[in-house]
């Protein structure tokens, strides 16, 4: 099957380039050793790995919250380091938990990034209000997080990241805490939003189906320490929906991913790792 996305992505500049990344927490076994990988602008890439292998640590490195022992991280065309990129608000980080401020309304939570960037309050609110309908959050602007469902809170959190950063979006298992039904609708929702905005997204997940459904490419981290990421291109046409998961190509990709994870021989085929 001809993959249009892939062809489009080929000529694009890099949104993220990681070279020779080394990191270990003090006194512990290394998590990353000589890790290289690239993400092109406008790509949706998932990193698929078992829990506890260092996925969240990778995101903390990419957003400059912690510093690697060796290696370089270059973000965007200007090749900012992770710390620079954060300071210049080039990164939209969406943590695993929604991490909304309980004392702020939806409006003020979503506007946090703009507010920190010094955008005048009225202008920030206007930008949030403009996007609320497209996120299915119309009419919630005066509500507080505890008045919303889990799925809605994640959408507010996503909106906050969307408005907070520019070049690269880091999504850390954003749907893992949601129930299965909500998760499916959130995945379809994210597909829609992404197909509209075409931002560069790096998505961490431990859910094989989710990775295939959403991504252009899936990077698999099978062993610890992570020295390389095996790559699988997902040749499914877009726009995609949950129906896509019934496609023969989907199942073939799933088989290949499970193989890369070294799971097929040991355990029966399951949806998540």
């Amino acid at each position: 099957m001809a993959n249009l996305n892939q062809a489009v992505n080929e000529g694009r500049p890099l949104a993220l380039s990681v070279r020779g990344l080394e990191f270990s927490f003090a006194g512990q076994a290394p998590l990353f050793q000589g890790l290289d990988f690239n993400i092109k602008q406008g790509e949706f890439v998932s990193i698929l790995a078992a829990s506890g292998i260092g996925k969240t640590t990778l995101f903390r490195l990419l957003s400059g919250l912690i510093a690697p022992q060796a290696g370089t991280i270059a973000i965007g065309q200007a090749a900012y380091s992770a710390v620079e990129a954060s300071a210049k608000r080039q990164i939209g980080y969406m943590p695993q938990k929604d991490s909304l401020m309980p004392w702020r309304t939806v409006l003020d939570n979503a506007a946090l990034g703009l507010e920190l960037a010094g955008t005048p309050k009225r202008e920030a609110r206007r930008q949030v209000m403009e996007l609320l309908p497209s996120l299915g959050l119309e009419g919630t602007e005066r509500k507080y997080p505890h008045e919303l469902s889990g799925g809605m809170r994640q959408r507010v959190s996503f909106l906050r990241s969307l408005l907070g950063g520019g070049e690269l979006f880091l999504l850390d298992e954003p749907f893992s805490a949601l129930d299965a039904m909500t998760r499916v609708s959130m995945q379809e929702w994210l597909l829609q939003v992404w197909e509209q905005h075409r931002k560069t997204i790096l998505f961490i997940t431990h859910d094989v189906d989710e990775a295939i459904l959403l991504s252009d490419r899936v990077l698999v981290a099978a062993e610890s320490p992570i020295t390389k990421l095996s790559e699988l291109k997902i040749n499914l046409p877009r726009p995609r929906s949950y129906e896509t998961s019934l496609d023969q190509t989907f199942l073939e990709s799933k088989r290949q991913l499970l193989e890369l994870l070294g799971r097929t021989s040991r355990s029966p085929v399951g949806g998540s790792v």
């Binding site: 903390r60 957003s63 400059g64 919250l65 954060s86 300071a87 210049k88 608000r89 990164i91 980080y93 943590p95 695993q96 938990k97 991490s99 401020m101 309980p102 004392w103 702020r104 309304t105 946090l112 990034g113 507010e115 920190l116 960037a117 509500k143 507080y144 505890h146 008045e147 907070g164 950063g165």
Partner: protein, 250 residues
């Protein structure tokens, strides 16, 4: 509003019932007035001395409020220091907690020696009574701040000031108000004790003099007014908490 009225009914009924038992008991068993005066006598004494009591009441209220205000400032500053510095967390925090094992009542006469019979000795005792609950509860509030929100703000280029004002302080507010409610109730006891140990004005002085004269009705009228003051201060703190943390009731 409706809910508020209905929740306060049981306690009002209970207080009225206790008052009735007091009045009936003292009449029925003919209790000597210097042991337990009749409640009606307490109110009569309160009415007869209303001008004097009003003046003393305001003096004690002023001491309690001033001490409370200073405790809020230094308690919050101590909490910020404890939160910001690991050294302070390991040194000052245990010391503040440990200081609660000191019986303040024993320490209070020293305050009078240091700060004299003027208002400052009373205010110092109020601070001793109230500083702890504000500092410790606010420090715990800071500690409860969600680190993920802080990390997120850092990826958005937040400054240290942003982190304090938009993340740490709002996170600490519920803890601060828990401390403030306790401190508001303690402050009246602190002011009264300060007055007992040496002073010329305030309900502590009034009740001490009345007690020396075996005027139990006057002592009880002072005690009732002090307790009303404590309740009022507590309710004011509660009201402030509800106004500031309005989002939690939604």
């Amino acid at each position: 509003m409706k809910r508020k009225v209905s929740t306060s009914i049981p306690v009002v009924v209970f207080v009225v019932l206790l008052a009735a038992i007091w009045e009936a008991g003292t009449r029925l068993f003919d209790v000597p007035h210097y042991i337990i005066p009749k409640l009606s006598d307490v109110f009569i004494s309160m009415w007869d001395n209303r001008d004097l009591l009003g003046k003393h009441w305001l003096v004690t209220l002023w001491e309690a409020l001033l001490g409370l205000g200073i405790s809020i400032v230094i308690g919050t500053l101590a909490a910020i220091l404890i939160d910001r510095s690991t050294l302070a967390r390991k040194t000052i925090y245990p010391l503040i907690v440990g200081s609660q094992t000191i019986p303040i009542i024993v320490l209070s006469p020293i305050m009078v020696m240091w700060f004299g019979y003027e208002i400052w000795s009373k205010i110092t005792v109020v601070i001793l009574f109230t500083f702890f609950s504000i500092a410790v509860n606010t420090a715990d509030g800071f500690r409860s701040a969600d680190p993920d929100i802080g990390a997120l703000m850092k990826t958005m280029g937040a400054s240290r000031r942003d982190l304090l004002l938009k993340w740490k302080l709002p996170s600490a507010l519920p803890g601060f108000f828990t401390g403030l409610k306790m401190a508001a109730a303690f402050s009246v006891g602190g002011a009264t004790l300060g007055e007992w140990l040496g002073g010329e004005k305030g309900l502590g002085v009034y009740t001490k003099r009345a007690s020396n004269m075996l005027r139990a009705d006057a002592v009880f009228s002072g005690v009732l007014l002090l307790s009303a003051m404590g309740i009022l201060l507590f309710l004011a703190a509660l009201w402030l908490e509800k106004a500031v943390l309005a989002y939690r009731r939604r």
